[in-house]
């Protein structure tokens, strides 16, 4: 077992000492304030005692912190009173990061961070070690990672997290027309047969006549759609440059080098082979998959609601306060609003409030639509090598890429208005790889006809057409009860308000109960799930309905949850967790309120099919082919 650099003991002691000093001071002060027998004098004793205890803790922490490189794992043991023993398998290490500030450089010290996938804090922090030791660790971990990977590969069953990611790609023509792709009939002869000879044959069919676009330059106008139906989409693949690349020294990882991989799927679905020769020049060629037309852009602007735009409305009201108030007053007057803001009856004020709310809502909507228009103007999505690339924006150009291998799940969203006109949007979730600040969720298709969006999702994930099932109608009963309680609370609140204000007619609030049955029904009708061969599809939500497609291969953990209310009704919610980072608005995909037996069977299906998917993947990799599922 190794210890940190001895200087870190000194620093830690000082650090914890100061914390102890502060804690002792605060603790004694609070006690003195609350309890009479404790006098202010205690602080004089408590603060230095705190410092000493803290410093002692810091030193003890140094002696109790140990790390070790074993054959399979990087081990960390730490803690004085609370102990923690951690073992990180090398092949889970994402990156080893050595940090050196100016002072650290001066003294030849460094902080080593060992990160694995998944959210939360850095998993292994060595704060701090000597420079040489840091370099040794970085080198050794890299070597041991490579070794463990090679060992696993030799076992004949290993897969490589970074290279095992590819997917069947989409034919834009099929997307445009919504019909089956014309290329189906002219598949390369060996599409279903992974022989290298045929691979080459398939590749020759795809001459690079397709349009090019350079996302960086924003030159989107001269992009041309592929004109030759014979050509078919070509996924190009080169060496990936991402964080993990530095872990995989080219020398030790030739097995997953460029040119060694191809895309393939089962016969019938049609596919194209990847070039066998390295295609570094092609790495940056973008093939367009989707472009937001003017019509779609306008529909998207007007059929999406951004509540965040309310902030802009507040700002506007703040800046143009007086003139805005005049407009509101003028509008409210015909309906019985007050003459001025200072004079008025309660009834007048109520009307004034309603009118300004109305204005606020309209303004929010208009500002939101404008914002959507400006930020999604000229949206287009393409594929360059292993990345999806997109760009958009009128005033400010946003562009970015989404590594396809990092895509965890695909979600189709729609709101009631979009459903009415038969449109939907498509988002892809990645593992915390968000090019946007919005977490790992990125719009792939802002808005397209529902059919096209679903088709895209199907092609993207190689999903069989889902037939959604709905939880039992007992769930609806549950929502009926839940919303009745909400309506009851609402009535009670209005009644409470009427007792302290002169507002009359609180009884009308009871009309809220009329909304309960439709609300419960709508909530229930938009629930759905589909347990497919390779994917589970989960749908929920009325206002912002989300249909999430999760490949079993991406499942991390599975939970069946039952609250006391659900237990009474024999219901359960099934939570399928993937590595996609969650945002505030987007919960973990959940099948809500299914029958307990159903939830358990989905639970088991997900678990078992993950194993099947893994086995299949391993077999595919042995055969030298990889597919995204």
């Amino acid at each position: 077992m190794n210890r940190l650099h001895p200087l870190s003991a000194v620093l830690m002691a000082l650090n914890r000492g100061v914390t102890g000093l502060f804690l002792g001071f605060v603790f004694a002060t609070v006690l003195a304030a609350v309890f009479d027998p404790v006098s202010g004098f205690w602080t004089v004793v408590a603060a230095p005692t705190g410092f000493l205890l803290g410093a002692a803790y810091g030193v003890a922490y140094y002696y109790r912190f140990e790390y070790e490189l074993t054959a399979d794992t990087f081990d960390l043991a730490s803690g004085v009173f609370a102990r923690r023993d951690r073992e990180i398998p090398y092949h889970r290490v994402q990156n080893v990061d050595v940090r050196q500030g100016v002072l650290f450089k001066l003294f030849g010290l460094a902080i080593v961070n060992v990160e694995t996938a998944g959210g939360g804090a850095t998993e292994g922090v060595l704060n701090f070690v000597g420079e040489d030791e840091a370099q040794r660790l970085q080198r050794e971990i890299r070597r041991l990672t490579a070794e463990s990977k090679r060992r696993r590969r030799k076992g004949g069953t290993a897969t490589d997290a970074e290279s095992a990611d590819d997917l069947e790609w989409v034919d834009p023509d099929a997307l445009e027309t919504g019909e089956d792709r014309p290329g189906e009939a002219i598949d390369p002869p060996g599409a279903a047969d992974p022989e290298p000879a045929e691979r080459a044959e398939g590749a020759t069919g795809s001459e690079p006549a397709e349009g090019r676009t350079e996302p960086a330059e924003g030159a989107t106008d001269d992009v041309t759609e592929p004109i030759d139906p014979d050509e078919g989409p070509r996924a190009v693949r080169g060496e990936r440059l991402d964080d993990d690349a530095d872990l995989e020294d080219g020398a030790i990882d030739t097995a997953s080098g460029p040119g060694d991989e191809r895309i393939d799927t089962a016969a019938g679905s049609g596919d194209w082979a990847v070039d066998d020769e390295p295609v570094f020049a092609d790495e940056y060629r973008t093939r367009r998959l989707f472009e937001l037309t003017a019509r779609e852009l306008l529909l998207y602007s007007f059929a999406s609601f951004r509540f965040a735009a309310a902030a802009a409305v507040f700002f506007f009201a703040f800046v143009a306060g007086d003139s805005a108030m005049e407009v509101v007053l003028a509008t409210a007057q015909p309906f019985g609003g007050p003459e001025t803001i200072a004079t008025g009856t309660p009834r007048g004020y109520a009307i004034l409030t309603l009118v300004s709310l109305f204005y606020g809502a309209v303004l929010t909507y208009v500002v939101g639509a404008g914002f959507t228009f400006v930020s999604y103007y000229g949206f287009q999505l393409g594929r360059a090598g292993d990345d999806l690339v997109y760009e958009r924006g009128l005033l400010q150009n946003y562009s970015g890429s989404i590594p396809v291998g990092k895509v965890q799940s695909v979600t189709i969203t729609d709101n009631p208005l979009q459903r009415l006109i038969g449109y939907a949007g498509l988002w892809v979730e990645t593992a915390g790889y968000g090019p946007d600040s919005s977490g790992g969720s990125q719009s792939a298709i802002p808005l397209a006809t529902e059919r096209r969006a679903y088709r895209f999702a199907e092609r993207f994930t190689d999903l069989e057409r889902p037939t959604m099932e709905r939880p039992t109608s007992v769930a609806r009963r549950r929502y009926l009860a839940r919303y009745s309680i909400v309506a009851g609370l609402f009535v009670a609140a209005v009644y409470g308000l009427s007792t302290v204000t002169p507002i009359a007619g609180w009884q009308y609030a009871a009309l809220a109960f009329l909304a309960v049955p439709p609300a419960a029904h709508l909530k229930w009708i938009h629930l759905g799930y589909y347990v497919g061969e390779n994917h589970v599809v989960i749908r929920s939500g009325f206002w912002r309905r989300q249909t999430t497609v999760i490949p079993y291969y991406r499942v991390q953990t599975i939970n069946t949850r039952r609250s006391i209310f659900q237990r009474r009704l024999g219901l359960a919610s099934l939570v399928v967790d993937t590595a996609s980072s969650q945002t505030f608005f987007r919960g973990t995909p959940t099948v809500y309120d299914a029958d307990l037996a159903v939830a358990r069977s989905i639970h088991d299906d997900c678990r078992e099919r993950l194993q099947t998917a893994l086995a299949k993947r391993a077999a595919d990799e042995d055969a030298g082919e990889i597919e995204f599922d």
């Binding site: 399979d72 023993d85 092949h91 696993r152 490589d160 499942v555 609250s563 997900c606 391993a618």
Partner: protein
């Protein structure tokens, strides 16, 4: 399926006692600083918290089970919301064993399993003897090291 060590109830009860002490202290603080309260209030509040904690501890112990299955670690627990969780071995990122001061005094240890999922450290098995925790950690580590798959991130 395996149950937790019976002493885990003492840990939970001790935690309830700490919570009760804090609630009592806050009530005492309100009494001396903000407004006078009957003397029974701080004691009563603390006592109620403690009793609820004891009942909760007993119920929770009865419901906590875990099992090493063929391809995954399975846990079930929960009083208000009962949760059954499967953690496929291939998805285990790394495994901690840890114990706090009270756990150490009771001779207990916890196992924390990390996945790359968004509920990263959700999987925690408390109330194991140190040997059992160590053994589980070794088992899970071996399974994670040997597992065929990757973390799919």
């Amino acid at each position: 399926m395996e149950s937790l060590h019976p002493r885990i109830r003492l840990l939970w009860i001790a935690q309830a006692a700490v919570g009760a002490a804090i609630v009592g202290l806050i009530a005492a603080g309100v009494d001396s600083q903000i407004r006078e309260l009957p003397a029974a209030v701080p004691v009563g509040a603390g006592l109620v918290v403690f009793l609820v904690g004891v009942v909760y501890a007993v119920l929770l112990y009865g419901r906590w089970h875990f099992d090493l299955r063929e391809d995954s670690l399975y846990l079930e627990r929960g009083v208000i919301t009962f949760v059954e969780t499967s953690v496929p071995f291939v998805r285990v990122q790394h495994v901690d064993t840890r114990f706090g001061p009270i756990e150490r005094a009771l001779g207990l240890s916890s196992l924390v399993v990390y996945t790359a999922g968004s509920r990263n450290a959700d999987v925690r098995v408390p109330g194991l003897t140190p040997e059992r925790a160590r053994k589980l950690q070794d088992t899970l580590r071996d399974l994670a090291v040997e597992s065929e798959g990757d973390d799919a991130v």
